[in-house]
């Protein structure tokens, strides 16, 4: 009786084991690395995981005809939205499971991914590949993709900084002028003067919770007010007077002269507000300019671009780039380099210009892009301001004091995403009129110190 009772369970266990072992067999045949792109057993196929942004969609479209045809290397793409892709990449790379040979990472991940030896160093490849022209990569971009050992660990696909966009027509009507290098106080004054509470508001600033939402512009404000997340000895500075002053300034400005529903407004909402005439100024990513100046945009041609507003520092713009990294455990690093050196090349930008249109070019990474007549014809309005913003950023020294880890609008440690997202929820509530900034940052200080203690 006992035996009969257990039989089904035993069977279940057996079939599980049997299936698992056939699965092992399959992977072994594929040549190690846990399956993935290795299933067909040749080095002529690599797998790439990337974030689902329009530039990546274009790349997917162009790869078969313009890369695989020339090199014989097949590329299998896995595409996911930003948060999911970060989770999947961190999972695969931390285990060195090598399901993916190449991944889109950013200057946020490179410092700690490289520290953990999850990435293959690329300096040798870049040196030996004269066509690639590593020198052409804008310095602040490549600095963000270089590890603390001086090795290059990722090559940029496109890059951005932040700047202040404003409506030149509205400024003219109101008789206002934007200073060449505005300070935050000047911006606040301009916002107050041009603000029409029933129509076009003074300025749009992100208020949506998230380390990549409200805290991207806000951290640049904190930097230039003289604040920092951590000092060089990993003491949290989140409720320091400078941090509080900067945050209070930001919250006041957006409450008094910012967009309606600011606590729920992120990049997309501000882009809509700017496009539809809902705001006179917007401080955000340089990559937004392409959409504002696109064909059919009602505000095309009437936008001016000023550098990120400052207080104590000389520049305040952030640096962000989506870049290609190769997993250290990948057995197809040569083929992977072939792919990323193509995707990050000037040649690829020209290909996109010819096949899809110059406004879709993954720009913001190479000096040569800003000398290209065809690109300037489309992007003339903002190309110079973009290049200037990127070139003036210094990811290793963005504030008034030395920092323990690189990053301008973030601190490049894995804990930062969670930490800043948690605090951002309180800041967002402050913007919505609940609680005080001091309370939010006092709570944030405790959380930040707990994180910093891991590094002491």
């Amino acid at each position: 009786m006992t035996a009969r009772r257990r039989a089904p369970l035993a069977l279940a266990a057996l079939s599980t084991v049997a299936l698992a072992s056939t699965a092992c067999g399959g992977a072994g045949g594929g040549g190690g690395g846990g399956g993935g792109g290795s299933t067909d057993g040749t080095a002529d196929s690599i797998s790439v995981i990337m974030v689902n942004n329009p530039q990546m969609e274009d790349l997917q479209q162009l790869t078969a005809e313009h890369f695989t045809e020339e090199t014989g290397i097949e590329v299998q793409f896995t595409v996911q939205p930003e948060n999911d892709v970060r989770a999947l990449i961190a999972q695969d790379f931390s285990q060195q499971a090598a399901q993916y040979d190449v991944a889109t990472i950013s200057n946020y991940e490179v410092p700690f991914f490289s520290e953990n030896s999850w990435l293959a160093p690329l300096s040798d490849y870049a040196e030996q590949d004269a066509d690639f022209a590593q020198d052409d990569i804008l310095e602040p971009i490549s600095a963000g993709l270089t590890g603390s050992d001086g090795e290059i660990y990722a090559e940029p696909f496109y890059g951005e900084s932040s700047f202040l966009m404003y409506r030149t027509d509205l400024f003219e009507q109101a008789g206002l002028t934007m200073p060449e290098q505005p300070t935050w106080q000047e911006v606040a004054d301009l916002a107050a003067q041009i603000d029409d509470p029933n129509g076009t508001r003074g300025i749009c600033l992100r208020g949506l919770p998230g380390w990549g939402q409200v805290f991207a512009p806000l951290t640049t404000v904190v930097n230039t007010f003289g604040g920092t997340w951590f000092d060089a000895d990993w003491n949290a500075q989140v409720n320091s007077p400078e941090f509080v002053e900067a945050t209070q300034f930001y919250v006041d400005l957006v409450q008094q002269h910012g967009e309606a529903g600011a606590a729920q407004a992120g990049f997309t909402e501000c882009l809509n507000a700017m496009t539809q005439g809902g705001t006179a100024m917007w401080y955000d990513a340089t990559s937004a300019a392409g959409s504002l100046e696109a064909e059919g945009s009602p505000v095309a041609g009437s936008i001016g671009y000023a550098p990120a507003p400052v207080v104590e520092t000389e520049s305040a713009g952030w640096i962000y780039s989506w870049a290609w990294g190769i997993q250290a455990a990948s057995e197809k690093q040569d083929a992977a380099w072939e792919f990323i050196s193509w995707a990050s090349s000037q040649e690829y930008e020209e290909l996109v210009g010819a096949e899809i249109g110059w406004s879709s070019v993954p720009a913001g990474k190479r000096a040569s892009t800003y000398e290209n007549e065809e690109y300037l014809e489309v992007a003339g309005a903002f190309a110079e301001a973009t290049e200037a913003a990127i070139s003036s950023a210094n990811p290793n020294d963005p504030g008034v004091q030395p920092r323990p880890a690189p990053g301008i609008q973030f601190v490049a440690i894995p804990e930062f995403a969670d930490l800043a997202t948690t605090i951002s929820q309180d800041i967002s509530s402050n913007i919505a009129g609940q609680g005080t900034v001091q309370e939010s940052l006092d709570r944030g200080q405790e959380a930040a110190q707990a994180v910093a203690d891991n590094y002491k």
């Binding site: 009786m1 006992t2 009969r4 009772r5 039989a7 089904p8 369970l9 069977l11 279940a12 079939s15 599980t16 299936l19 698992a20 056939t22 699965a23 092992c24 399959g26 992977a27 072994g28 190690g32 846990g34 399956g35 993935g36 792109g37 299933t39 797998s47 995981i49 689902n52 942004n53 329009p54 299998q76 793409f77 896995t78 595409v79 996911q80 939205p81 930003e82 999911d84 999947l88 999972q91 695969d92 285990q95 499971a97 399901q99 993916y100 997309t268």
Partner: protein, 297 residues
């Protein structure tokens, strides 16, 4: 998105009035027509999100993103074109079909004998066995994901459809045993005894006596297992990558933080829901019988 699948089938089941054979047993002589109206209202309520999804899938991206929504916007098949235009669509659907069908067959092959041993010829302490089976569902799957992932990495089972089949089988087995047990318990003991008296062996009894009575139950169990496997996202998302990704994983890849995607996702979700809907309609007769059999208990 996958969550809409069960509501569609629920709606289908709701919308189809129970068969006459079933109604005969009812003690009510004439059902109040108000109940019919209420049933239709509830059915419609369940169906609305799915219908809205289908409508949105036929809109252009710009119309799909407007607020308030535009009901009468022009229709287009662009969403479906972009779904089937993607080179990953068919592999994902085939992976899902493989994982769901194979695991469902395995579950049936294992759960029917188990249920037989727990109801028709109950083994000693059969209720303990049932409880043990139930207890395997106590652990939230999310708590098992990390160990499973590490296991998969070290054994090389990562991104293999076989791993998903094994996990889906294990995941659905307890439910299937419970369901099958309650269906087999419906088989009257007298019928079995009569068959024995007539000299029928075990196989003959199973085929000619048990099977006809249990068929609706088997169909219902199979469909439920199929649905659960078809729409499973958490395990598939964590344990597959380039090769073995299933349809729900592929669905999420249409979401982007830059640009519009609602119509595309709705088109993809509609396509992914169809197999379950078709299976539901095909098994409708058996299903209504089977599910209400279980419910009466």
């Amino acid at each position: 998105m996958a969550a809409t699948a069960p509501s569609t089938t629920a709606a289908a089941a709701d919308a189809a009035p129970p068969r006459q054979t079933y109604r005969k047993h009812s003690k009510l002589n004439r059902p109040n027509p108000l109940w019919g109206v209420a049933a239709w209202a509830v059915g419609l309520l369940f169906a609305t999100p799915a219908l809205w999804m289908v409508l949105t899938s036929l809109h252009r991206e710009v119309d799909a993103a407007t607020n308030p929504p535009s009901l009468l916007a022009p229709l287009t098949l662009d969403g479906y074109r972009s779904f089937f235009g993607s080179s990953n669509a068919w592999p994902a659907l085939i992976n899902s079909a493989t994982a769901s069908v194979v695991s469902t067959l395995l579950v049936l092959a294992l759960s029917i004998p188990a249920a037989y041993a727990l109801s028709i010829r109950p083994v000693k302490r059969w209720s303990d066995v049932l409880f043990f089976l139930l207890s395997t569902r106590f652990l939230p799957i999310v708590a098992a994901v990390l160990p499973l992932y590490l296991f998969a990495v070290t054994t090389g089972a990562l991104d293999q459809i076989g791993l998903l089949i094994a996990l889906y089988t294990a995941m659905n087995l307890p439910i299937a045993v419970w369901m099958m047990r309650s269906f087999l318990a419906e088989v009257p003991v007298e019928m079995l005894e009569a068959a024995q008296l007539d000299g029928a062996g075990l196989i003959r009894t199973l085929r000619s006596v048990v099977a006809p009575v249990a068929m609706p139950g088997i169909a219902a169990t199979a469909l439920i297992c199929f649905i659960f496997s078809w729409q499973e996202l958490l395990l598939a998302r964590s344990l597959t990558g380039v090769v073995a990704g299933t349809a729900p994983v592929f669905l999420t890849s249409f979401v982007t933080s830059q640009g519009l995607f609602l119509a595309q996702v709705c088109a993809a979700a509609t396509v992914v829901s169809l197999p379950v809907l078709i299976a539901g309609f095909a098994a409708q007769d058996k299903l209504v019988q089977g599910l209400s059999l279980g419910a009466v208990k």
